[in-house]
Symmetry: C2
């Protein structure tokens, strides 16, 4: 027969590698929402396959894989890459940093996204939010933390970022181990504590059975933004229409992740408390020691890197305005709401 | 010559009417962002023209216009329509209700959107968020409000929703007048007070010059969600691809509006204070009287409408969990952040 006169519209197939396992369904779900939305928006002409940590590469290989054009996208926590450059932390969370909404505001209507994308360009990355974990918990401890002294020598599994440097100043001994080994190490006592995310994610790992003291707030993650890292070369090659689809699918995914955390965390927290988790606020001297150590860490990085200093100072100036406004708006409103029975 | 063999792909042209003037660039801007994103996503094949209040119809005519298929979309504050049914308020803000993030969570991962769209169906409406004003201020007053007694006989311009019913119980005499006449009425003293939104929007109207006492927090709008109302018949007739474009363009617009308010409000507040605005917290007895009056209003509507009661109780159950979790997460974190100098 005659060759068909109509050619199928060129299809685009991207690959996204996540630094997270599927079991973290809040975070990993953002990549799935992104992928599904992109497919819907394009009527199937633009697809992005989604791969959990380890499927295509190790969890922390995703930045290199974008740089060498192995993948077109990643879903990650930028602070995993402070070993490359401490500036990565500002794309995610720093100690005593921004909350979820403050981060969105700094990124999209402050200088945040612009400054970060200028920095990311050297890694062939364009960034967009994948959502926010919201304020995290301060982790699980086998014994009570009654003062900052109790952190001395504490063997703790820590997430990424500048927080580890602040904790080291407080005497915490960071332990590196795969997530799958943490439960047993806490049970045996070769590990004293671990931090993770918040009630919904933490509950699945069962830490309450082996480290019942659950401290708050996670002062190192007042709101951790997960990011979609996009291969800049691949993104620049897209049509305006396809670029808009990537951006819009990202907005759908980011809104969804944050709302999901907010909806699911309280219910998980109630279950954890019913299962004998002991909720404890960090003592004030621990918070103060953490703040002092963190500010020293920022000072050290500022002394080494003018680019770090520029971004840090921009973020703090924005934060100061946010903290001022918060006193007259949501924080004040929330203060009253804690006193009434709705 | 021969007729062209290729037909242009069917174009869709929608119209969106806003209940707001262009001068409210935060809120109105959400419709513009929606429209621009929809055009980009569709490569110009799906366009939605955006019309300010009064262009196609009066600001509060938009629900009727969707019901009689005059327009395909509206951008509005659902609580403007509590005259039709008090349930509309839950799609926007109710006294002592949800904050911005809580509203997103209830809507998208609680029962909120499902319950509201079941209700809206009788008006031929499908809803989606257009963004949130975040916690509003409590308005501008010519004289200090030292106790709840000072509200007795106060002539005040009020926004929509159930709040007016609570204020009436406190003795406030609601004044209906166009926004453009408020400044002069305050100057003359025929009006004692007005509430509006927050620093960024309020500043443009110059109220600080004629009513210098600026009270907080706006307990009737802990977070007011603006909504895109979509003509259900028109939406149902769209392809899956075009439906996804409407949803995704909405997500882009909603994220943008909330971030814009958060970024712009603090800077406007500082300018207002520099221009002699006197910031004052509502006295506790005013907050308590407002809370009591509001709960009475909710009780009255619940007694009249099982559907109102069902939605109200669902929202409050969700809110109780949110308030519990807030104590251990962002509220606790923010409490500490108010005590340090970043």
């Amino acid at each position: 027969g005659a060759a068909p006169a109509v050619h199928a519209q060129a299809a685009i197939r991207w690959r996204l590698a996540a630094s997270f396992p599927k079991s973290l369904d809040t975070i990993f779900g953002s990549a799935e929402t992104f992928s599904r939305t992109l497919k819907e928006l394009s009527g199937g002409k633009f697809e992005c396959s989604v791969h959990a940590a380890g499927e295509l590469m190790p969890p922390f290989g995703v930045v290199d894989a974008i740089q060498n054009d192995t993948i077109q996208m990643a879903l990650t926590a930028p602070y995993y890459f402070t070993g490359k450059d401490s500036i990565f932390a500002f794309g995610c969370a720093v100690p005593f940093g921004l909350t979820a909404r403050q981060m969105d505001a700094w990124m999209e209507h402050g200088n945040g996204r612009k400054l970060m994308d200028e920095f990311y360009a050297k890694y062939n990355i364009v960034s967009m939010s994948a959502g926010n974990t919201t304020t995290q918990m301060g982790g699980w401890y086998r014994k009570e933390i009654k003062s900052a002294k109790d952190l001395q020598g504490l063997k703790m599994r820590l997430g990424g970022g500048l927080f580890g440097e602040a904790m080291a100043k407080l005497g915490v001994v960071a332990q590196n181990m795969p997530a799958g080994e943490v439960y047993q190490a806490l049970e045996k006592g070769t590990l004293d504590a671990t931090e993770f995310v918040g009630p919904y994610d933490d509950e699945k790992l069962g830490f309450n059975k082996v480290a019942p003291f659950y401290y708050y707030p996670g002062w190192w993650e007042g709101g951790a933004e997960l990011e979609f890292f996009i291969n800049k070369k691949a993104f620049d090659a897209l049509s305006a229409e396809n670029k808009a689809m990537v951006r819009a699918a990202g907005a759908v995914a980011a809104r969804d992740m944050t709302a999901k955390y907010d909806a699911k965390n309280p219910i998980a927290l109630k279950r954890l408390v019913a299962a004998k988790t002991q909720l404890k606020p960090f003592p004030k001297d621990v918070m103060d020691a953490g703040f002092k150590a963190s500010m020293e860490v920022f000072g050290e990085h500022e002394a080494k890197s003018p680019e770090f200093k520029k971004i840090h100072q921009d973020m703090r100036a924005f934060q100061r305005d946010q903290l001022l406004w918060d006193r007259f708006s949501e924080y004040r409103y929330s203060s009253y709401m804690t006193t009434v029975k709705v």
